[in-house]
Symmetry: C2
Subunit: 431 residues, 2 copies
Amino acid sequence: MLGARCLLWAVRFCSSAPCPRHKPSAKLSVRDALGAQNTSGERVKVQGWVRSVRSQKEVLFLHVNDGSSLESLQVVADSSLDSRELTFGSSVEVQGQLVKSPSKRQNVELKAENIKVIGNCDAKTFPIRYKERHPLEYLRQYPHLRCRTNILGSILRIRSEATAAIHSFFKDNGFVHIHTPIITSNDCEGAGELFQLEAAGKIKIPEENFFNVPAFLTVSGQLHLEVMSGAFTQVFTFGPTFRAENSQSRRHLAEFYMIEAEISFVDSLQDLMQVMEKLFKATTMMVLSNCPEDVKLCYKFIAPGQKDRLEHMLKNNFLIISYTEAVEILKRASQNFTFTPEVAAVDLLVPGVGELFGGGLREERYHFLEERLARSRLTEVYQWYLDLRRFGSVPHGGFGMGFERYLQCILGVDNIKDVIPFPRFPHSCLL
Amino acid sequence: MLGARCLLWAVRFCSSAPCPRHKPSAKLSVRDALGAQNTSGERVKVQGWVRSVRSQKEVLFLHVNDGSSLESLQVVADSSLDSRELTFGSSVEVQGQLVKSPSKRQNVELKAENIKVIGNCDAKTFPIRYKERHPLEYLRQYPHLRCRTNILGSILRIRSEATAAIHSFFKDNGFVHIHTPIITSNDCEGAGELFQLEAAGKIKIPEENFFNVPAFLTVSGQLHLEVMSGAFTQVFTFGPTFRAENSQSRRHLAEFYMIEAEISFVDSLQDLMQVMEKLFKATTMMVLSNCPEDVKLCYKFIAPGQKDRLEHMLKNNFLIISYTEAVEILKRASQNFTFTPEVAAVDLLVPGVGELFGGGLREERYHFLEERLARSRLTEVYQWYLDLRRFGSVPHGGFGMGFERYLQCILGVDNIKDVIPFPRFPHSCLL
């Protein structure tokens, strides 16, 4: 409806005749302009949104940001180029010369010859105010505009960088990436807090399931990764997972992202813990080195002190404590246990966020598993899972890491709703 | 249930005391063993699944594969190491020396000192037969085992490589990656063929929506990318999308992956087409150069001739034809049109697959959009979308590429169900 994709131009392969091409313009992103080595009057075009306007008698100063970096490009122009439309939030196209800046605040500035306002922005109705530092709670009301603030811009650029770093880590370590299914007829964790789905028209006709069986949104890709670890030895997935949990906590979402890995031929929890620790450290180091300004902004305005805590984590080995020790610590804190402990599992707990990783060794012995499934009358449904133990079974294990909690942990962001572009939780599905 | 994640070991940060570490073994993946430069009797351990067994009077030959590459490692052992358990599909651990192979078929082989069978595999019940080339249709019945065949192994390794290549392409070109939401209250394309979802217990109580509003699985991340292109200029997403379409065709799935990009400050369709063509070519070149053996296998057994067709595509510019020309071609083919053409859209059609890319310029003018929304009585619901045009609006556009169709196109795979690990389509949600 809004952006229909219909056939109008058709692009076909297999012509060896050269086509007319659009001539590339001297367009530069703000990031590239700021990093430009050649400032001997190169003529460029920069496009973005106005972050500040300062009009003096003879000179007009603008700061233009296009989201390619936290830093904006300073534009200097003759005040005759000023106009009432040049306001905070408006979109502009500036043409001029990149020159060395006389100020110490930046290396480069753009001496404007022409400034074109592309889209206006009315300061009175724009929910983001000029030079105001809005609380994160306030910004949550505007999921379509909050990405234009410095702080959300930085968090989302870091999220993008962390995503790339995680893919790199696994690729460099010989893991095969698997898209585990979103729609599944399994209930991996037996949690029960599932979203069920159905073709929109049929949602109230249970006998007419689209897939012939009740279908749910995945809570974990673990079982599907177990399938794949039986072929590729080391596999991972990085995708959305879901819980229909009625929780409004600052650490839960109905839709969140998980990084999950499964490894064949592991002998011990130590093997898994090593990969978990390496993943955490390698990803974090890459984020810190690729987004230093964005990370600095988070530490400055959200979590002073987080920098030192994170550096401490990166420098030292993670502390491993046994179940018995954990019980002792919890007893001293006079907490009650409501769960039954099982063997060969591992959790990574981090300050402020709680459980970040969960992992364990899987049952690879056919007869043990068969017995347990028979007791729960699940043998038929999980025959395929038994098959994995029937044909060339191997000891294997894996783990999952909550991606939003990871971001909360490294950046010190208190509420999980601020590290995901469009948060979904009970009673809220904005946009 | 099956692999419960409970607290048993707790890993905590912030100890500076060194922890006891698991001593790394001389484990090698098959891929690394095959590529080893040092074959002067290095002692290694290789783990994997038996792909072939050949027992001679005095010598036993095994081929062991661990999914790290298409090629298996040849293991040579004294026939005294043979056992009845060493069958096709069984899992083994082999220790021995990596030596230069006397045969021309491989550079390296493993002279075994010890062979341990880890998991048996009964040839009589194992659905994958030794030395048999099963049709893809047959393998589709066994989504949990088909990844252990050469052909599915190759396709899924290529899929993993293409995923990484796509992330690299966008990162190298300054795009910010955005996780657009899976659950949404929008209906982007107005298609109507949506999956609706609800907390499992409440699915038949429409007045008790989990999110307070009816919620659906996304059909496109376009609108959410438009939000983000207003902050970061160039954004992309690569995630699952859904259609509750009752189609059993070889080109449709109920759950499939899309790469979508949105770019601010684009002036023309040519700008978009350039990015589409670059994306296609860069990704394909990376796949061809990183997975030559896997690609070769596909061409050999699935699509002879596809190699030449693809090389032709890569060498030449894509042919661009206008809407009028497309109409002429379709008329000659005496097809009927059932759609109304709209302006400023582009499709990329490829032989054998059909529509691979769809894209277009978006309406950035506030008043035009407002009028259209008012006519459809959607102004209130899409106020946020109007806001994007109210505050610093810019001309922008974007495109989507179906990832499975892309894989079909480059590999010549006829049926879309063979290029995704766990296909979902009407009446089928296996595993």
